[in-house]
């Protein structure tokens, strides 16, 4: 399981726009880089990221080799109701990871 750092406000007002910041540990090997032996290292990147809010997707991203290692993705979402934010990463070589964070939305 790769380490992640996810920053979500613990509490938000209904209708407020929340900033969400995510970091995940991953080398994002480009597939263009030669190793010490001169041979191209095989690609190993995260390709997809999504955020679901109480089961509904509110944000998605498609990543390419140009994304720096230990990908940082930040975006916004409307605070609609209390519940669970679910973050999902998947990529080469069957890489898959899901993290969940609880949020409280007050009136």
């Amino acid at each position: 399981m790769a380490s992640t750092v996810i920053n979500v406000p613990a509490k938000a007002r209904r209708g407020e726009v929340m900033e969400i910041r995510t970091l995940i540990r991953h080398p994002m090997e480009t597939g263009f880089r030669p190793g010490a032996d001169g041979r191209i290292q095989p690609r190993d990147i995260i390709q997809r990221f999504s955020c679901h809010y109480n089961g509904e997707q509110v944000f998605g991203a498609e990543l390419f080799s140009a994304v720096a290692a230990n990908p940082y993705i930040a975006f916004y979402t409307l605070a609609t109701e209390s519940g669970t934010l679910s973050f999902h990463w998947e990529g080469d070589h069957g890489f898959t990871q899901t993290e969940t964070v609880k949020i409280t939305v007050i009136d």
């Binding site: 380490s3 992640t4 750092v5 920053n7 910041r21 970091l23 995940i24 540990r25 080398p27 994002m28 720096a68 290692a69 230990n70 940082y72």
Partner: protein
């Protein structure tokens, strides 16, 4: 790199002496009797590498939600409580809560009784791992080792660098100072020539910092990962085409110690980010 002309060398020598005096003032003051007055009067021209970076890299370091080094700190937190080796002891078994380790990273490198020389924090962690936890030794820059180092550096963030005023360290500090000034490698350059004489000038398009180890272990953008001060020093030695000192060698420990003493009093940055 341009050849240094004799007139430049003289001027450079004078500049070097002035800069060295300004930077060594805290070092010398700490060991002299008139400590307070000298320190207050000597203008501190020392600047962290943080101040030589662009605004977005600085923001990356300052904000824990943005700092990639926090990924290692998080791993370190998990490792702190994990039973390891034949002993099945965790770091916490002996050291308790990590918060109680605040100040530890600030006083390294420290004199090691068994090796009878200074060792850095990473070497200290390695020794504990092998001797106390009875685990297999970690290879240099092992990710678990770096995570623990990051976690401990994080506990000391904001504290001044404070290696012990231990008389036994004096000859090693002197040795470290000599190494700092020693020209090495095919490019025949010393640390001092870049990091004291030319700090603030540019090498290629990069600003040359003063080389204070206040942000280590550091997330270096060039590495796209976290690394130790030893790795950085070896990288510089490679850069001037010198054979790098071995990991955990006395030579690297002396340099690390000298750099830390030279940076005495400067604020530790937790896990720094550098270009």
């Amino acid at each position: 790199m341009k050849k240094i002309r004799p007139s430049q060398r003289r001027a450079g020598g004078i500049v070097l002496m002035m800069l060295a005096a300004a930077m060594l003032a805290p070092v010398l003051a700490a060991s002299s009797a008139e400590t307070g007055q000298n320190q207050a009067e000597a203008k501190d021209s020392r600047r962290s590498g943080f101040e030589f970076m662009g605004a977005s890299t600085q923001a990356m370091q300052l904000n824990e939600a943005l700092n990639p080094g926090m990924l290692w700190v998080k791993d370190g937190e998990a490792l702190w409580g994990r039973a390891m080796g034949k002993s099945q002891l965790s770091c916490a078994s002996c050291h308790g809560d990590a918060a109680g380790m605040r100040g530890v990273a600030a006083r390294y490198p420290a004199f090691d009784e068994e090796l009878k020389r200074p060792i850095g924090l990473s070497q200290r962690i390695k020794l504990c791992h092998v001797n106390r936890q009875q685990a297999e030794p970690w290879r240099p820059e092992n990710q678990e080792l770096l995570s623990l180092e990051a976690y401990l550096a994080y506990q000391s963030r904001g504290l001044p660098m404070a290696p012990a005023a231990d008389a036994r360290l004096k000859p090693f500090i002197a040795s470290g100072l000599q190494r700092f000034r020693q020209r090495i490698g095919q490019l025949d350059l010393s640390c001092a020539q870049c990091h004291e004489e030319r700090a603030g000038q540019r090498l290629g398009s990069s600003l040359i910092p003063q080389a204070h180890p206040t942000g280590y272990p550091v997330y270096r953008l060039e590495w796209q990962g976290l690394g130790s001060l030893q790795r950085r020093l070896r990288g510089c030695m490679n850069g001037v085409r010198a054979e790098p000192f071995a990991y955990d060698s006395q030579e690297l420990a002396e340099l690390e110690l000298y750099l830390t003493v030279r940076a005495r009093g400067m604020s530790m940055e937790g896990v720094g980010v550098r270009p």
